[in-house]
């Protein structure tokens, strides 16, 4: 692995909730980076700050201290409107199940970000994505008429359509059965390999994590290691070393 470009990075990232004695540091000085065109998985015990990290990387949340860089942009320094534009134009989202607009068809959901920006989506790219994800015959259906796996594939198409700098996924297979989950991971892997897409995914499933190029480990809001070219076995033992107790982050001494 020759040193690739950095798509996004966190530098001394702190995110604290609440003030004074009750304050909780969900992230307590995390430094890490996401190589461009690679698949990164984020793992750690429950409450270790995975979701918070993802929110900060995706411009959904503002750091209390430290920096979040997307390319050359410091997301923490941006105002609300600018962060909205960043999310729309430079980031793709895949959530757990249920995050399509229920009243729009699958096709309309895919075009959502483009039409919010008042742009026409790139037709050729859209057709290729839809074909590759195997949802060409489902575009006119409402999300309620699709299976969970199909909904997630629609979400992946929506995330990739704008050729975002990173695709952010929070437990994307969490609500799927094993088979659909494996399929979805394969599709994400394919997007990384064939389109050079950068993907960062939070998961607690060692099997899912083993699909990635590197696993970043979190514990109590701090970076606790990195695992290159993971396999289910190495992921499991790394998690074992972390301790799966799910200890809550200690309150900030005031």
């Amino acid at each position: 692995m020759t040193a690739p470009r950095v798509a996004a990075a966190a530098i001394g990232l702190v995110r604290a909730y609440g003030e004074g004695r009750g304050a909780v540091r969900a992230l307590d000085g995390v430094t890490l980076w996401l190589p461009a065109g690679r698949f990164t998985a984020v793992m750690g015990p429950s409450g270790s700050g995975k979701s918070t990290l993802l929110h900060c990387l995706a411009g959904l949340d503002r750091p209390t201290a430290g920096q979040v860089l997307l390319g050359d942009t410091d997301l923490g320094a941006l105002g609300e409107a600018a962060r909205t534009a960043v999310r729309r134009d430079r980031i793709g989202f895949v959530f757990q199940d249920g995050n399509l607009l229920g009243h729009l068809s699958a096709g309309e959901n895919i075009d959502l970000a483009a039409s919010l920006a008042g742009r026409r989506p790139d037709r050729g790219w859209r057709t290729e994505l839809v074909d590759r994800l195997g949802i060409g015959d489902r575009l006119r259906h409402l999300p309620g008429e699709l299976s969970g796996g199909q909904r997630q594939r629609v979400a992946v198409a929506r995330a990739l359509l704008g050729r975002p700098e990173i695709v952010v996924a929070d437990e994307p297979t969490g609500a799927l059965d094993t088979e659909s989950g494996r399929e979805l991971l394969g599709l994400l892997r394919g997007c990384v390999d064939d389109y050079g897409q950068t993907v960062v995914m939070v998961t607690h499933d060692p099997l899912a994590a083993s699909v990635s190029d590197q696993v970043l480990l979190l514990r109590d809001g701090t970076a606790a290691g990195r695992l290159a070219d993971p396999t289910p076995g190495t992921v499991l033992s790394a998690l074992g070393e972390l301790g799966t107790g799910g200890r809550r982050p200690a309150p900030v001494p005031s």
């Binding site: 979701s51 993802l54 929110h55 995706a58 959904l60 949340d61 609300e80 409107a81 909205t84 534009a85 999310r87 729309r88 134009d89 989202f93 959530f95 757990q96 199940d97 249920g98 995050n99 399509l100 607009l101 229920g102 009243h103 729009l104 309309e108 075009d111 959502l112 970000a113 039409s115 919010l116 920006a117 008042g118 409402l142 929506r158 929070d170 609500a175």
Partner: protein, 547 residues
């Protein structure tokens, strides 16, 4: 559709896919529009009828204008009530959609795009409700007139000028959009992270006492100031106007303080509910969603208050009218020289009166006094009424005299008072209907939101009837919190109104007021019937099934 931003498109598509919710949301506006369009159609028809009867265009348009002005006060009240109710339903509907709104923000919708989508949804809802209301009013107007004509009443045909109903529909759209503005702004502020997390408790926050108390206090001070000024003004109409204005300011104060009052009332009711789990649930729920409970209960207080003020006002006016009859008609029967007969000068009139008095005095059934040229006749104690009638008829009639029965005057006055009571109850009743509907709709939407929680409670052992009882109790609490201040404040404003126009204040019609209060609580529970049926049908397994 293509040109709309996707947020708006999703909102509009939502209306198409879930028309029931749109109808529920717009129901209050629909009722208000039926009323406003009905009023417009009525005055248009009235104008034509008057022009056909007495073609003096100027006096006709003056009459019609004053009728319209009177009606528009009540239309305005109904619209205000509808706006508050619809504002509340929008808040509920959007709270439920928190995740979808957040998702839009995640994938790059700006705040203003989300806000605009909600306003567009409100405009469509207002349009649907407005057109529905206008159609109902026009059809009902035509039907009413057709029925009246068929049953032989001489009424003119209905007149339909498009301008009126179109204006009413526009008014409905404006009212709905205005009602949705706070929710639309709040929707724009939904943080995008909500789309990823589980928590979205948009409504969970309690009322902000620090902001509400000072504002409410200011409004109450204004209420008192305007009311006091009203009582000091000599001109009766101006005084009444100021008292009414003071009432509206007080309503605004209630709207502001409402959530705090509901929370306080729920706390006060807690000991009463301590013994029954469903009752405790009801109190806790009323308290938890105190803002939405308050929105409907303040409107209810407005409707109940108007009605109570009306009851007191009419009681005062009736007592005044009766008293003036007793003053002007000091006996049961008045026999007067007939002005129309030949009784030109005073001595001749006196002679006619004296003659009549003498004839009447011969009858044992009658007691006769004279007061100038008026002969005052009362029945003798224990006399048979029919004998009294005969006696007066045979001795008093003819010979250039005119007989006036006080009982007939009383009956005429009572008839006028009855008509006034019926018409004004009808006009005020619309606000009450809007308020009760609002309560029913709010409860239905709230419960829909709580389905999972109810299922869980059922799974944990809450009985079906217990669940229904909790809903009924919640409705009763809301009814009570609306009815009590409504009756008290409304009766107070009835008294103020009477003082303003200089009519003596009667003893308040306590029975009617109590009946009003109880009736409202009962109706509130009835309005919850649909919700009770639904909550009874929630399967205990529901909470465990779908995510």
């Amino acid at each position: 559709m293509r040109a709309l931003n996707p947020a708006t498109r999703a909102a509009v598509a939502g209306i198409r896919r879930n028309p029931r919710q749109t109808v529920l949301t717009g129901l209050a506006v629909l009722v208000a529009t039926v009323f406003s369009t009905g009023s417009v159609v009525f005055t248009d028809t009235l104008r034509e009828a008057l022009l056909a009867g007495a073609p003096d265009p100027e006096s006709v348009s003056a009459t019609v204008a004053s009728v319209l002005a009177g009606l528009s006060v009540f239309v305005g009240l109904a619209l205000i009530a509808a706006t508050v109710v619809v504002g509340s339903t929008f808040r509920i509907v959007l709270a439920r959609r928190g995740r979808e709104l957040a998702l839009l923000r995640c994938v790059g919708a700006s705040r203003s795009q989300v806000t605009r989508s909600v306003l567009a949804e409100a405009a469509v809802t207002g349009l649907v409700a407005g057109v529905g209301g206008a159609v109902v009013a026009v059809v009902a107007g035509h039907l009413t007139i057709a029925v009246l004509q068929m049953s032989g009443v001489d009424v003119p045909g209905p007149v339909l000028q498009p301008a009126g109903p179109v204006g009413c529909v526009l008014l409905a759209v404006v009212a709905t959009v205005v009602a949705a503005v706070p929710s639309a702004l709040a929707a724009g502020r939904v943080p995008p992270v909500v789309a990823l997390g589980e928590a979205d408790g948009a409504e969970a926050r309690g009322p902000d006492a620090r902001r509400r108390v000072p504002l409410a206090v200011m409004l109450v001070v204004a209420t008192v100031a305007v009311g006091a000024r009203g009582l000091a003004v000599p001109d009766a109409l101006g005084a009444l106007g100021l008292v009414a204005l003071s009432g509206m300011v007080l309503f605004a104060a209630l709207v502001v303080a409402g959530p705090l009052l509901v929370a306080a009332a729920a706390t006060a009711l807690r000991p009463l509910a301590a013994r029954s789990a469903p009752a405790r649930l009801a109190v806790a729920n009323a308290r938890r969603v105190s803002r939405r409970t308050a929105a409907t209960t303040t409107v209810l207080a407005l409707g109940v208050g108007l009605t109570a003020a009306l009851l007191v006002g009419i009681e005062g006016a009736s007592a005044d009218a009766r008293a003036s009859i007793e003053r002007n008609y000091p006996a049961e029967v008045l026999v007067l020289p007939d002005d129309r007969a030949t009784a030109p000068d005073r001595t001749e009139r006196q002679a006619v009166a004296d003659a009549a008095a003498a004839r009447l005095a011969e009858r044992p059934e009658l007691r006769v006094r004279t007061d100038g040229t008026e002969v005052l006749v009362d029945p003798a104690p224990g006399a048979d009424p029919q004998a009294v009638r005969d006696a007066v008829a045979s001795a008093g009639d003819g010979a250039g005299t005119q007989v006036i029965w006080t009982a007939e005057r009383r009956a005429e006055t009572e008839q006028v008072l009855g008509t006034v009571r019926a018409v004004s109850t009808g006009l005020v009743g619309v606000t009450l209907v809007v308020a009760v509907l609002g309560m029913g709709v709010t409860l239905a939407l709230s419960l829909h939101e709580r389905t999972r929680e109810i299922a869980l409670l059922r799974a944990l052992g809450l009985t079906r009837s217990g669940a229904r009882y909790a809903v009924a109790a919640e409705a009763a609490i809301a009814g009570l919190v609306g009815a009590v201040p409504g009756v008290v404040l409304g009766a107070g404003y009835g008294v103020l109104g009477l003082l303003a126009v200089g009519i003596p204040v009667p003893t308040p019609p306590a029975g009617q007021l109590a009946g009003l209060g109880t009736g409202i609580v009962v109706v509130a529970v009835l309005a919850a019937a649909a919700s009770m049926r639904r909550v009874g049908r929630v399967a205990p397994a529901h909470g465990l099934a779908t995510g």
